[in-house]
Symmetry: C2
Subunit: 254 residues, 2 copies
């Protein structure tokens, strides 16, 4: 294994995942992961550029940042790349009017989007709003369309909350893909466009940045396939037994 | 195209799907499909053996038969092959204790099954019981198991009710498969063992029987891959535009 200094050579910026890296979500917003407030403060004092790259799609960017600031994190809205605003750009560019299968907490992100006569479905991590009725309604909308378009804010399998592991949007994306015989378009990690937009905001090239996350596919794999370096933390959804079972393909590789 | 008499040569028995063939489900149990009560009566008066082969897993076999008899169908419990009793046999044979992700209506089928300390999950068409909380609980049970076993009662994409198309168990099976990184074991159509058990009950060989259903994969494809003949009806979930769109691979082929 190369020394850290060697592996980090040329790195000028850090992209940080939020859930599982800075905090574990849960009741009343969850709890900070021990040491993460201080680690972020240290990063911010360094020469490195810092940006947050999250697939959080259950609450708005504003509410997420408010929660993090309340926990003591040094973060502002302009530093966060999240999938709902990215999806709004895609919807506008393509003239799409979504039926929203999302939680109430993120609905405000779409307030400038025309949702009349939907010609696509946008699915986010809707949590408790993934009732049979709501998922079935999205399915019916898709089945009525000549060319069904499903846009998914991330495709995570699950995430960790203080109460345990929770199904993420990817599971419900797969359910709709199968039922409708279609393939979703993912906005968010691991889509390359998503990482690239974060890099543009930082003014960095891919080889100058490192992604830090707890998801081997969404964070590590996604960043690497864009030419970035990446590291997987051992917090959040990380489970040591996955290494032994061979479920995780790799760990924290550069 | 060969004449019907030629295509039916040697057929001694008919396997009938129920939902979409005899009735469209819905409020208060749904409504019979026009002509189906009479068609079944005619079949029963013929020389042909008749059996029902259904993936219905939202209500017990007893309640299903009660509903059909109330609608005027000539049917008895002993004539029905359905997935919940078949799953109970599998569970007993393999010493599996299921966590049940099923509707209350079918729970009675499992009353002789030990459900303490679950070492597998059984998923059925749970309808409204597919709440986020219930699906997530099944996910958590699977993630706690060393060797997660998921048994799915059918893998249908959707079915038709009087109120519209409804997501079937297959969609939720896919969600759990993706979230857990596993593959479900299907009990019910199109599993060959399921058709074979129905044929055994009829005392027929596969080439002597014909399956009639509305699902091109579960009914037609499943029966054909067992060596049976099969026909797809144009009722239930059948949608003519799928032929034009090329979604249905074939139609009513022998």
């Amino acid at each position: 294994m190369a020394a850290w200094s060697e592996r980090l050579a040329g790195v000028r910026g850090v992209l940080l995942d939020i859930s599982g890296v800075l905090l574990d979500g849960g009741k009343d917003g969850g709890v900070p992961i021990p040491g993460s407030v201080e680690a972020l403060a240290r990063l911010k004092r360094s020469q490195l550029k810092v940006r947050f790259c999250t697939n959080e799609s259950q609450v708005s960017r504003k509410d997420l940042v408010g929660l993090l600031r309340h926990m003591g994190f040094d973060i502002s809205e302009g530093e966060v790349t999240s999938p709902a605003p990215a999806a709004c750009l895609v919807l506008k560019e393509r003239g799409l009017r979504p039926h929203l299968l999302v939680s109430d907490g993120v609905r405000s992100e779409f307030h400038r989007i025309d949702t009349s006569k939907p010609n696509c479905v946008v699915i986010a991590d809707a949590g408790e709003s993934f009732s049979y009725q709501n998922v079935n309604k999205a399915f019916q909308v898709l089945m009525e369309l000549e060319n069904p378009v499903l846009i998914s804010l991330g495709k995570g399998r699950y995430y960790k909350q203080t109460s345990g592991l929770m199904l993420d949007v990817g599971a419900y994306m797969k359910a709709l893909e199968y039922a409708c015989g279609i393939e979703a378009q993912v906005v968010g990690k691991p889509a390359p466009e998503f990482f690239q937009s974060a890099l543009r905001e930082m003014g960095l090239e891919a080889h100058e940045a490192i992604m830090i996350g707890d998801d081997i596919v969404g964070d590590v794999g996604g960043a690497q396939s864009c030419g970035m370096r990446a590291v997987q933390v051992r917090t959040g959804k990380f489970r040591a037994e996955h290494l032994a079972r061979g479920r995780a393909a790799t760990w924290g590789c550069f």
